[in-house]
Amino acid sequence: MKAAVVVFPGSNCDRDLAVAFEQAGFDVSMVWHKDSALPAGVDIVGVPGGFSYGDYLRCGAIAAQSPICKAVIEHAGRGGYAVGVCNGFQILTETGVLPGALLRNAGLKYICRTVDLKVATADSVFTRGYSAGDVIGVPIAHHDGNYFADADTVKALQDQDRVAFTYEDNPNGSVADIAGILSENRRVLGMMPHPERAADEGHGGTDGTAVFRALAGMVAAA
């Protein structure tokens, strides 16, 4: 089982994401933003949190145009698995792999704390380790995590059971309390909270590990 974690200038959760994948049993390659191809045989691509390219222009906007992102878009287009966390979620929306956009937090403040997330669907390779309705504690750390999509897009996400996680106590103004969403084929997950920062007792909790374990179980069985 192979995972690749993309590293942009300004990424700062790349190693955390790599460790979470490794703990779940993946061989992990780090991939530089100037590379134009993913390593052969990669099952899942992780797009990590951080401040790619200094958040210049808009969060994720410049990363979305990088050579490696073209490879990530192709990987997703072929039906490959991908997960984007925080800045990675912003990047995946900027590429168009996932719908919507992330705006400045409604309260204008950077927020860094553990929040309660409700698992909105267990019907995905990322969330099948939970039951729908489970409430888990996962850290957030973002300034631009206010998920926005137009009413038709939000309705489509809800009707197609593509909302992965919602906030119990919406910290940033996200529409419909959305914290994470799935692509149409349910193989790409984007979320603002950091499951890789809830993957070790030393982090204060392990509620995030099920995301990586469930994924590993699915890939191993495939």
Binding site: A101, A106, F148
Partner: protein
């Protein structure tokens, strides 16, 4: 040749920064401000032969996120 691109959040998209500026203006006693929207201005120095269509393509691909932002272009 130069172009100036104005990027603004679309109407209907909450602009918390603009709202904070409006609030601050009110606190300073400027009570005749009913709304503030904050955007950005991007100035481009263009090589000879560049057209407005080129700048439009730049806006669509990178300078604006058309999910949430509108843009306008002034060729100068």
């Amino acid at each position: 040749m130069k172009a100036r691109v104005h990027v603004m959040l679309k109407n209907g998209v909450l602009d918390p920064q603009g709202e904070a500026v409006r609030h601050a203006l009110g606190a300073l006693g400027f009570d005749k401000v009913e709304g503030v929207r904050q955007g950005k201005v991007i100035d481009l120095d263009l090589a000879a032969g560049a057209t407005e269509a080129d700048v439009t393509a730049m806006c669509e691909k990178l300078l604006a996120n058309t999910v949430i932002e509108s843009y306008s272009i002034e060729m100068q």
